[in-house]
Amino acid sequence: MSALILIELNGSEVSANSRAAITAASQLSDSIDALVLTSDASNSSSVAALAGVNTVKMIVDDSLENANVEVASKLIADVMSDYSYLISGSSTFSKNILPRVGALLDVQPISDVCEIKSNNTFVRPLYAGNVMATVETSDETIVMTVRATAFEHSGDGGSASVETLSVTMPSSNSEFISLQESESERPELTTADRIVSGGRGLGSKENFALIEQLADKLDAAIGASRAAVDAGFISNDYQVGQTGKVVAPKLYLAVGISGAIQHLAGMKDSQVIVVINNDPDAPMSRMADLVWQVDLFDALNELNAYQV
């Protein structure tokens, strides 16, 4: 019952998602290998250092720098004959590729696993996390993504062997053109200890700068509700919720967010939730540890001026 982790790299570093996937795999199998699709063979070193990984399987090709999903899914499906599990952390990277691998293997993948009950039984969210389902699969090969907020992030300390696979690169009918990366000096949203999140209540893109100022003061990442994103205050990769990112920081400070169920689904597991809002009846307030019922601009100005 060996497991293969599809590794997601951020530059040359192993993502937090992949580290969560290793923890999940360790609950299912004693034999864990990692698969890396990359254009740079030297990326094996950060993966080989992961605790709990036996062998790093490398597929190296220039075209894999921004791999086409058609190519990646074929390459992965071809190595799965040796494994019972294919696991990756939930992200747009894995959600793009793994279902296509599932189709090639005639397997029904399982998305966003939050808990492992047994070797074929898992808990996953439905309806934006308002319902948790325990599901049992009858597939012989199990393909799944796991929530990075639900499993510890496995650390380093391993010394896995590295094996470079020789493969024939499949043909592809699509091509990469460009990537416009969101640049930020701030902590990454899904792994940050603190998040300051703004909603429609901010009123404008200019006012959203007050959120950024507070985030910098607290060394926090920035988040946003879908309403704030739709209103154009900030780009979509900051969205927290059902169709955005799922977060569980130590501190989630929500400013001017009323709390649609789709947003709550993305942050309800935060350790401490603070709500700043002038509407006492907003659903957000009920799930807060601390509530400051106030005009949000007064609060932001006072917080930004406060000498810690």
């Binding site: 279902p99 189709a103 993948p109 979509n236 807060a288």
Partner: protein, 253 residues
């Protein structure tokens, strides 16, 4: 160029899902149902292509019991040319692999070159069907798209994908499948005259059983529970100083 738009009937997204403890299922009896919001965006994009003269025909497809006809009528009222209804006798627990196989069958039959569909349905939140369909019929795939530009000779499409690290631009040669994200467009409402007109648009009904597709569940739902959001203490504070003091005591700064 024919465009297929698969659409799904789901619990209205502004309605709270309730679990029936006896059946261990989400209770949809008498619940308000609607077209999955991502499917509405897919329909809108297909209609825009048809109106610009890039598409010859737009075809909505849905699978389910007789009630599913409502969702297809909505698509027709928005402006889709015709509908294909895959009829099931009872509420089957169809999973993305099954749906992808059914859609693959219809796409081959229609020889459609482009499939536009939602990135996920807001009931089961799988985010799988488009990807799986592309694997089954080996179409090129663009997921989570927020921009769609068809080339002038209609042989390829340039898409912007909303991914965790930013926005990725890719060129997909047709035939292709794209799954749409929220910011692609603003779906139109069906006007009253168009709702009336939709009643006379063609809708073909196919029995699922006639397609010869194995729909045995791969995944069994053992149990479900409402997780909802637990109310917390909601202690009132009234100044920045008080907030920082509390947060320091909680050890989260």
């Amino acid at each position: 160029m024919k465009i297929i738009i698969p659409v799904k009937r789901v619990l209205d997204p502004y309605t709270q899902a309730r679990v029936n403890k006896q059946t261990q299922q989400v209770d949809l009896t008498n619940a308000k149902m609607a077209m999955n919001p991502f499917c509405e965006i897919a329909v809108e994009e297909a209609l825009t292509l048809k109106e610009s003269g890039s598409a010859s025909e737009t075809i909505a497809v849905s699978i389910g019991t007789d009630k599913t006809v409502d969702t297809l009528r909505t698509a027709l009222a928005m402006g889709v040319d015709r509908a294909i209804f895959i009829k099931t006798d009872s509420e089957l627990d169809l999973q993305p692999l099954h749906v992808a196989k059914i859609l693959a069958n219809i796409i081959k039959r229609e020889e459609a070159e482009l499939v536009i569909m939602g990135k996920q349905a807001v009931d089961n939140d799988n985010n799988q069907t488009g990807q799986m369909l592309s694997g089954l019929i080996d179409y090129s795939l663009g997921t989570f798209i927020s921009k769609f530009d068809l080339s002038s000779d209609a042989s390829s499409v340039e898409v912007c994908r909303e991914i965790d690290s930013g926005i990725e631009t890719r060129k997909l040669n047709l035939p292709a499948i794209v799954t749409v994200d929220l910011r692609l467009n603003e779906p139109r409402y069906a006007s009253l005259p168009n709702i009336m007109k939709a009643r006379s648009k063609p809708m073909e009904t196919l029995e699922l059983s006639s397609l010869g597709i194995d729909t045995a569940p791969r995944i069994k739902v053992v149990s479900v529970e409402e997780s909802g959001t637990k109310d917390r203490a909601s202690k009132q504070i009234s100044s920045a100083e008080e907030l920082f003091t509390e947060l320091n005591q909680m050890g989260v700064l």
